[in-house]
């Protein structure tokens, strides 16, 4: 008693998951719920949602993870249900498909042939000689193609030309491809990483920063940005961002590529994309204590330059590319005791400043923009699985909707002292083309048999 009720339950769950109705329902639910993440901004800080939506709606956002809708528990459950439905729905068709693809379409009788969607028969009083039979068969073959023959079917010869029997398997490819894409996405999620790096010109880096966690990810090799270049159209719109990259392995140059947007560099499965850039000013100053003791210092924004012997530090506070046509920089000079002062330097002019006992002369000799290139870095071993899934999806779709299973039969036999010829056929797709084709055979048979009826 118990056993049977559990079996019943199993089948009812099985039935629930295998229904197309559930598929339609899930597709509609997915379509509607997917809207949420396009209306509510995604991936912002929780503070942002509290301020923007108020405490009431904020609670809903937090519980339902609407700040990251497409990775939320309920969306993943929906995708899980969708996959389960896909698998079970497809499996349930399997016995049916097996039956269809194993069916021997030559084991039909002449009566069944006359019940096909397309049928035509001819009756002739006399017996057909060999030549006429051959001409009928070749007329059939000319349009229908390769055929199989079985003799002694209802006392006659049966010919079957069958095409696209395999097309019933297309739906498995089509549905399976969605799962392949999911697998590819998971492989990328667990075995890959995504990060970014801001790399100044001339500098080398051996790790990147994880986009989500902020963790450092070692690359296993180093990358140097030799040069960053930006060019513009006449109207001022950006034309090209280009970074000249070199890969180093134990300080040995092993790979080189100049990357632009849409043309990344790949090395050992890690891909570097041109994503952004920043320009920072860099000035060179000449500092002299006396005619013999002088130094040339290069100062970048956000970085200190040191003259350690004199215990002086230099910083760049402000930069203007053109003051009266000349670059100007506001330089901050600090000493050991933490005292500091700052002043403007105009290129070509010399200034004096005092630190302790000493008097220094300083001048601005060079100023330029220094670039940092912003690179997106990722490793995704699953991407090829995704592309495989996409290919299978397109091929499967094409097979499901455009490859027909066509069957054309020709039966030549004798019945009630007469020769009977039956032409019949069936297709599951593109009936128009099929009818055109089979009518061609009909016309050929009409001209060779019609006169003798």
């Amino acid at each position: 008693m118990k056993a049977s009720s559990s079996t019943y339950q199993d089948t009812s769950i099985w039935r629930f998951f295998s229904s197309v109705r559930l598929a339609v329902f899930l597709l509609i639910i997915l379509a509607i719920t997917s809207i949420v993440g396009t209306v509510i901004p995604q991936g912002e800080s929780l503070q942002f949602y509290l301020e923007r939506f108020g405490p009431g709606f904020f609670r809903i956002i937090k519980v339902l993870h609407l700040n990251d809708t497409y990775h939320s528990w309920w969306y993943l459950i929906l995708l899980g249900l969708f996959s389960t439905n896909l698998v079970i729905c497809t499996l349930r068709r399997l016995p049916f498909t097996l039956k269809l693809s194993r069916r021997d379409n030559l084991s039909v009788d002449s009566g069944r042939l006359l019940k096909m969607p397309f049928k035509k028969d001819w009756e002739i009083k006399e017996e057909l000689d060999n030549d006429s039979t051959q001409s009928i068969i070749s007329a059939f073959k000319k349009v229908a193609g390769k055929f199989h023959e079985r003799s002694d079917v209802d006392g006659g010869r049966l010919f079957l030309a069958e095409r696209g029997k395999w097309s019933y398997w297309g739906v498995y490819g089509l549905h399976g491809s969605i799962l392949i894409i999911f697998v590819g996405a998971l492989v990328g999620l667990f075995l890959g990483f995504k990060g970014s790096v801001m790399l100044p010109e001339g500098e080398t880096i051996d790790h990147i920063v994880n986009r989500q966690t902020g963790e450092h990810i070692p690359l296993g090799f180093s990358v140097r940005c030799n040069r960053f270049n930006i060019s513009f159209y006449d109207n001022g719109a950006p034309k090209e961002y280009r970074s000249d990259l070199t890969v180093l392995n134990d300080d040995k140059e092993v790979f080189h590529k100049s990357i632009v947007v849409n043309d990344p560099m790949e090395y050992k499965g890690v891909t570097f994309y041109q994503a952004s850039y920043r320009a920072i000013p860099e000035v060179t100053v000449q500092v002299a204590k006396s005619d013999t003791l002088k130094r040339s210092m290069t100062i970048s924004a956000f970085q200190k330059a040191l003259w350690s012997e004199e215990q002086l530090s230099f910083g760049l506070m402000q930069y203007m590319p053109s003051v009266h046509g000349r670059p100007a920089a506001r330089i901050r000079v600090g000493d050991q005791e933490g005292r500091s002062g700052n002043f403007w330097l105009l290129k070509g002019n010399e200034k004096e400043f005092q630190r302790g006992e000493n008097l220094y002369r300083i001048s601005l000799s060079n100023a330029k923009q220094r670039y940092l290139t912003g690179l997106q870095v990722k490793k995704d071993p699953g991407v090829w699985i995704v592309w495989l899934g996409c290919t299978v999806l397109i091929v499967g779709f094409t097979v499901v909707f455009w490859v027909p299973h066509r069957r054309m039969w020709l039966w030549i036999g004798r019945r009630k002292g007469k020769t009977v010829v039956i032409l019949s056929g069936q297709t599951n797709k593109n009936k128009l083309q099929f009818e055109k084709d089979i009518r061609k055979i009909e016309e050929a048979l009409n001209s060779s048999l019609g006169a003798r009826q």
């Binding site: 597709l27 997917s34 034309k239 947007v261 990344p264 870095v377 995704d380 397109i394 779709f397 094409t398």
Partner: protein, 282 residues
């Protein structure tokens, strides 16, 4: 310069508006000759528009930019109307029913009118920003718009279905010339299947491109998500045929809802939501 692409596109706008009017007259007054004229005018329009698109391509080379005319909202609207007309003409030629023209050509003429007359749409040829400089641009735009245009026609057919279904008793008059519900249902299905293939290819080419440009084939950007929503809607339509009670009227409704989703993917995302596809709004 009178013989420029923009001149030809203005001309196309009026020709398509005329063609839509002729198809409507043909349907309402059932004059055979007007139907034939409508087809002739439409074919004339597509020839002029094709020359216009080719010319605009050449003009962009003359300006030193050199890219296919598929790079901003204006050019996409022109292309949308072009594909819609092509898809419609194929159906007219296959089915030999000019009444469909009254429901399909208005999409093309509205698209051209919007491109030509809206003051917010920049119709100048602009240089390509670095993100758009890719061989995938043409493949992505062409596949997407083949999908969009098919769905526009499917929507027109869906409206026809609902009108015909509503007045199913009338076998004469203007209802009589609308093809049978059964034929319309099959046509809607075929058109959606065709559009679905192209939409899928559009999403895939977009993913490949995004992977080349940004390193992620899918980032749940609003444009991507809305294209997926559209994909879900039409996937529903394709499966609904196998559910009892869903074929026919409900699929006709889905063809209209689906096209609304297409429209939101096309315009709504650009104007109302922010994301990676912002260049489509200029």
């Amino acid at each position: 310069m009178t013989f420029s692409s923009s001149y030809l596109f203005s001309l196309t706008t009026f020709i398509y508006m005329g063609a839509a009017a002729l198809y409507l007259i043909h349907w309402i007054f059932r004059v055979k000759k007007v139907g034939f004229l409508a087809t002739v005018v439409t074919v004339g329009g597509i020839v002029i528009q094709t020359v216009g698109i080719g010319l605009r391509w050449i003009e962009s080379y003359q300006l030193g930019y050199g890219h296919a005319p598929l790079s901003n909202l204006y050019e996409s609207l022109v292309f949308f109307s072009w594909v819609t007309i092509v898809v419609y003409l194929i159906i007219e030629w296959q089915v030999k029913q000019r009444v469909i023209g009254a429901f399909a050509t208005p999409f093309a003429s509205l698209s051209m009118a919007y491109a030509s007359f809206s003051p917010n749409i920049e119709d100048k040829i602009q240089p390509l920003i670095p993100a758009l400089k890719s061989n995938w641009l043409i493949a992505h735009v062409v596949t997407c718009f083949l999908g969009y245009a098919s769905f526009a026609v499917a929507c027109g057919l869906g409206i026809m279905y609902l009108i015909k279904n509503r007045f199913s008793g009338a076998s004469e008059g203007i209802m009589g010339v609308i093809p049978d519900c059964k034929i319309l249902d099959e046509l809607i299905h075929q058109t959606i299947v065709f559009g679905f293939l192209w939409l899928t290819l559009g999403i895939i080419t977009g993913a490949i491109w995004a992977n080349d440009a940004w390193g992620t084939y899918w980032s749940w950007d609003p444009k991507e998500t809305w294209s997926l929503i559209t994909w879900f809607v039409y996937a529903t339509a394709l499966h609904a045929r196998f559910v009892r009670g869903w074929a026919g009227r409900r699929i006709a409704y889905i063809s209209i809802i689906g096209f609304a989703s297409v429209m939101f993917t096309y315009f709504g995302v650009n104007f109302l939501l922010s994301g990676l596809h912002s260049y489509g709004a200029q």
